[in-house]
């Protein structure tokens, strides 16, 4: 949601330009501030920033994207497992990538391919099992399960068409990394062989569709070693998010993942369905985390108009929540997990605004929710991981340190 001032908006940010009466009401009745999701000037990923917003120090606990995304898409990843993001892609005979998404292959085709790939046998001596699952279109997750594995493995995905598939290599000299790289190389080659001869791909070629003849891997990761929120704060926590990566972080934090029909992680998501789900979830949970992806999508596309519209939809969504919770016993916080600049189209390291309303909050003079207005608020400038502790403190869920 956060951004930088834009020339096209008269040097206002999209958030500052949006009509947002509910967000402003939250700011006005609450206490505001700014947060550095990780550290001043450090652009966060969505995974590291969400870890921070849930109270963890990403610099200490982050262990790669692969496992979080796998968990978020419903694949079990155990401690010691190494997981990778994967894409079905199209390569030529020299392994040059022609289409990184294999024509955004339909879920049905991908599922049929995965069924065959899951039957590939790894050399028994290696004592490793794998689980491969497709999620949406070309996307999927691979989990290696066994002993002596390492996540210090480079990507095979060159992340650009016209480039050759990268060799899967260990990133350090440990025997575990070398072993993992060798297993993954074997698997990658076996997958390629099976896919080259697969009937689904023969059909795709016949219909002039790019064949999904390779699986590209990236983002090797393990499950971060974190105590679940239930242990840290003694709360029953729920997550409403459509994006696998965010869901994975929340799952690892021990939160219940609530399924919401129509929640898509896109600008067309059903905002009101998410709002209703959040209100319902509050009946059975101490803490509910609701994540909207669309503002980030708009930022990456440089589409400030869409970003403004999205903020306005979020505002209405929050209106429904505010109208249906008891603010004499509920604390509500609004923030962004990072700044995505419509100008650079990237995550940036600028701080994000935050507002907290609810009982016993020490209100301030801020009456408008925005990057610059909130920075004048009573919370001052904090780290992302501070927010959760502040919220849990307001709700009486933290332990005294000392006597």
């Amino acid at each position: 949601m956060a951004d930088r001032p834009l020339k096209e908006l008269g040097w206002k940010t999209p958030l500052e330009s949006a009509r947002k009466p509910v967000l402003n009401r939250i700011a006005k009745t609450g206490i505001c501030g700014i947060l550095d999701p990780i550290a001043p000037g450090m652009p966060p990923g969505s995974d590291t920033s969400t870890l921070a917003m849930l109270g963890y120090d990403p610099l200490k606990v982050y262990s790669g994207r692969g496992a979080l995304e796998a968990v978020g898409s419903g694949v079990e990843v155990l401690p010691g497992d190494v997981a990778f993001r994967s894409n079905f892609a199209t390569v030529d005979e020299n392994l040059v990538v022609l289409d990184r998404r294999a024509g955004r292959i339909a879920n049905e085709d991908a599922s049929k391919l995965v069924e065959s790939l899951q039957k590939v046998k790894l050399k028994k001596s290696k004592n490793v099992e794998f689980l491969f699952k497709n999620t949406i279109q070309h996307r999927g997750a691979l989990v290696l399960h066994g002993s002596k594995l390492s996540a210090a493995i480079g990507d095979s995905d060159p992340e650009e068409t016209g480039k050759k598939v990268l060799k899967l290599e260990s990133q350090d000299q440990s025997p575990e990394a070398k072993r993992t790289a060798s297993i993954l190389s074997e698997l990658s080659q076996s997958f390629h062989r099976v896919l080259n001869q697969h009937p689904v791909n023969r059909e795709r070629i016949k219909h002039k569709l790019p064949p999904a003849n390779i699986v590209l891997f990236r983002g090797a990761g393990t499950i971060p070693k974190i105590d679940p929120l239930g242990e840290v704060f003694g709360v029953k926590a729920a997550c409403i998010a459509a994006v696998s990566l965010i869901r994975g972080v929340c799952k690892v934090a021990g939160m219940n993942l609530i399924e919401v029909k129509g929640a898509t992680g896109t600008p067309q998501t059903d905002y009101m369905a998410k709002a209703r789900a959040a209100v319902r979830a509050l009946n059975e949970h101490d803490f509910v985390f609701l994540h909207v992806k669309a503002t980030d999508v708009a930022g990456h596309d440089g589409n400030f108009k869409l970003k403004i519209e999205t903020v306005e939809r979020i505002d209405k969504m929050l209106g429904h929540i505010l109208d249906n919770i008891d603010l004499s016993s509920t604390v509500l916080a609004v923030t962004a997990d990072h700044t995505t600049s419509c100008a650079t189209r990237n995550h940036e390291g600028d701080p994000v605004p935050v507002a907290i309303t609810g009982p016993y909050v020490r209100t301030d003079d801020v009456a408008e929710f925005g990057e610059r207005t909130c920075s004048r608020g009573g919370l001052h400038r904090l780290k992302g991981a501070d927010l959760m502790h502040i919220l849990m403190n307001l709700c009486g869920h933290v332990q005294k340190f000392g006597a």
Copy 2:
């Protein structure tokens, strides 16, 4: 540049008292805040604060003044070497210091003495070489090169006339420190013997000048282990500074040292020459660091009038820079490396003001550059080392952490 409120200035600081339209313009068009160079209440040295302003954590990387100053005055110091600041001084027959600067001996005399001293032979068994170089007047640098050396060595300079030269002692029990202390003692005594009989000193005595009959050592240090800015941020960086210590820090950070005729590190420095050099340097560098020493000199002398004048000269210097750079594509930050109090005449641990202007900066309401006005700005209160990360983030030179 930063100071404390002074009674003589109606409880304003020199910076607050100065006429500074350009600094105010930077504050008004930018975002302001205050920085604790190292930590709240901790008075920094010029070396530690410069390390911090370049983005390094001085509490982790600082390894003494000697090596930084040696590097800054053009002496090569390698990892493992131990370097010392040195002064030619005058002592009596009991080694009581009569003049810590040997009458601010002229460069030519000092050079002749150094020529003889460099010929001193260390006992071969010690397997150590030394390099001794004079810089300006009585000042110089000594570098010990060899294995098993330590910088845990006390000073021989008592830093006061009328006191006896201190015994060079190890500051810990390590064999390396004891060995280094013994080598340095041997060298110190040999130097004293050579100097006592040197024709230059006989001439000086004849002309009623204090003989430079001893070399005092202090500030033992090694090269800090830091990654150069080119590696940390991928930038080509330049330094415009006259002071050896600052130049040394910048050199160690991998920056190009730009020579500016007339830049002296004194209140009489050629401010405009530095400004012109900075504008030129920006054509070939991603990052240019310009340092002015004179405000600190005025603070150490308790000369608040000179400090105000210096701020006004700096303001004009910044005017030239602002008029000659493209602020739609350049980020400009102004700060002080520490507070030097005209009242205590020392470095103090109070925070320093900072203002950043340039494209896409989230401006605030501050319209005047000063210690107290800036503290109401949108940057809030940060650590010195945060500044570089914030600047590099604004310029697109930082990597995302996470996915």
